[in-house]
Symmetry: C2
Subunit: 472 residues, 2 copies
Amino acid sequence: MTEQSGQAFWPTRSLTSVFAGRRRRLMERLAGPILLASGIRRVRNFRLNLYPLRSESHFLYLVGRHFDGSFLLREDDRWALYTAPPDPADTLWTGPTPGLDELVSELGIEVLPLSELSPPADCACLPPQDTEAADWLSQLLDRDIDAGMGAEVVDADAELADAMIELRLKHDDGAMAQLRQAATVTVAAHRAGMSATRGARREAHVTAAMESVITASGMTTAYHSIVSVRGDILHNESHEGQLHDGELILADVGAESLEGFAGDVTRVWPVNGRFSTTQRELYDVVLRSQLEAIEQIRPGQRYLEVHRTAARTMLQGLVELGICRGDPAELYERGVAGVFFPHGVGHLLGLDVHDMEDLGDRAGYAPGRERLTAPGDAQLRLDRDLEAGMAVTVEPGFYQVAAILEDETSMAPFADAIDRAQLAKFSDVRGIRIEDDVLVTDQQPEVLTAALGKTADEIEDLMAPASRGSAG
Amino acid sequence: MTEQSGQAFWPTRSLTSVFAGRRRRLMERLAGPILLASGIRRVRNFRLNLYPLRSESHFLYLVGRHFDGSFLLREDDRWALYTAPPDPADTLWTGPTPGLDELVSELGIEVLPLSELSPPADCACLPPQDTEAADWLSQLLDRDIDAGMGAEVVDADAELADAMIELRLKHDDGAMAQLRQAATVTVAAHRAGMSATRGARREAHVTAAMESVITASGMTTAYHSIVSVRGDILHNESHEGQLHDGELILADVGAESLEGFAGDVTRVWPVNGRFSTTQRELYDVVLRSQLEAIEQIRPGQRYLEVHRTAARTMLQGLVELGICRGDPAELYERGVAGVFFPHGVGHLLGLDVHDMEDLGDRAGYAPGRERLTAPGDAQLRLDRDLEAGMAVTVEPGFYQVAAILEDETSMAPFADAIDRAQLAKFSDVRGIRIEDDVLVTDQQPEVLTAALGKTADEIEDLMAPASRGSAG
């Protein structure tokens, strides 16, 4: 595949049988009626200027295609999509759009005009993401449904949520194919970013090179791209920063497949193409942490242990560099990891980049488990026992966050554990995160994004002019 | 400027005095209190995965910066921005964000915590674009405010709408500077698209090259990019189409400046780098139509006349090509132009690509004027007498739309006016539109996007390998 342009790769869709299978499996788990909203396309600055259409993930999982203002209804053993028939007056603007009959054969599902939608009052539903869709659903079902920003679900809705979680946690063949496609394009985007860095003067130039590959591949970004020399700002959305010799770029960028499945990869590379000694030492610490964590990915393993492995391995490396002092396991118990690694080691990956986070922690945390309170552990988005077919990210990071390091109260207990003078020698590292997408299998974990190199040597090679030439 | 990368150009912001001047001028026009919402950032598939923040245009006009969930209040001779103070808990994720004190000096306006907002009940307001913001505003003012998808405004709201229209119709120096920056980047994007076409196999590859320039320039697209070999589908959003020898690409792509002002340019170029004879003949007809229309742009000219000039000139050209038969002026009266040119010749351009279309036709149509009914004329979004300082697009087009040409009932009256056999010789033209951004001045109209060539020869030159080399 030509990394710069992505022209050799073009994404594909699943067969309709994939979605029929998902609908059947959901039906087997629940007896009652179900109504799922596609969501409503969001307005940007006026009615004809809209954000890209992105349907609700639960709807998308069962239908496979983005729809605006439509509904999927299950009654007894029958599923139907309700959508507005094409308006002939729109043909001038949109071209010929498939009629309901054509949709039936394209989607393999009964399709009826939206005007005929009359769902039973006892439908289970899931909270959509926007208030407009929630209001519409509330009217249709004559009960209050909040927009789903962690909205609580109860009764039949809770049963539906749990059934969807059960299905979506373990990816079927169609989902895996989509995740692989997203991974392929995500890898190509990162290679393009590395190649483009030597001639770039701003974060925006690197961002453009990376997103360009995603656009050229017919996909969209799965989330707002983080491309920043301020790796210490975990969700930095700005791309205005200038690139300076000696800095590291942290790029957390992922592609989303045609059916909505996400890639989610982070790499860090030096602006000038060569890691400094201190950068390379810390990079290797984070890499070892990530590799050890990936080793832990297997069916039956509790994901919290993956997180802990990453944290302890990182502390081990920091002790070896003289940044930390003491026994890594003890340092972990004392919460020292959270100083440098203040987020969780990863999350579920699927139709959402944090899969099913629309349901809060219901998907990420097994029943009976709750978030821990220690900094670092508190941010962990996933604590289930892994099963074959789950996809997760593994993404430990080391950061020098001023808000943490300069907070004397919370740092005081760690005075003996951290050598600040030694830490200061590593001031050319603001943040390093290494993230891959990993599929749990009965054998070795499958790293979906393995094609992208990640050792410091590999990164430097990918940035080298020879590599640029072959990619162009 | 390096067209491919956009690296030499970086956008700038207006001085705070620009916004202070706008607020003062609005205050001079209205006595009562005013409350304007910034709007609420839209959720994509879950709460932490959002669409890019794009504030309400009226708010943006007076504040100059995108805010989420904030309000601008005017009481007597005092303006204040109400926004949530930074949450220390977010610092890890967002980095240090400016406190309210810092915002005061950055924005040159009083800034108060959102929790202190208590607007007078008689505030005038304008309908925001999303229902969530409209609901919030309704609660704050204790009256029903619909989301502004052409929502009717009355009383004080109508006075506010008219005052905003009066201000925003004629661009001040700050707005013009932003429009020029958007135009610069838009021109560079089109050049990159032309350069990238020879090696491209899909519409998506050309789209990626164009949007990449916009991203690299620190801007966003002002609207969903149209990049399509199906120029006959006016708002084709798909970029999946393959490029074939002999086809034309129609690209309608624009950049949006830091303060929200839009560029909006359409060019058409041949996939293989050379217009066929028939393509070139029709291209020249559309170009002549556009140039004649631009000639009409002057203070005091009614925009409907600009539209009519474009339509009549196009009919003249079609008569010369033997596609139409008869007197162009008579053909226009009979509505023949609408067969091939079924949209208006342009619209207001400003903070919205169709400026102030959130207010329906209130901005585009002078009081007392209404849309005409003839096809082609009915789609005209602007019918005001032009004034110096207004920015408009001029974008005539010729299309072979199957839904129109194959509609026997509506085509029957034109049997004598159109030579279908002759038209069939031009079957390698699906759609041609040529669009520039034009500022009305007291002298010659200023074409903001003039730096981008538009004759058929210039287009072919821009696509030639030599041009690619110099752009790389």
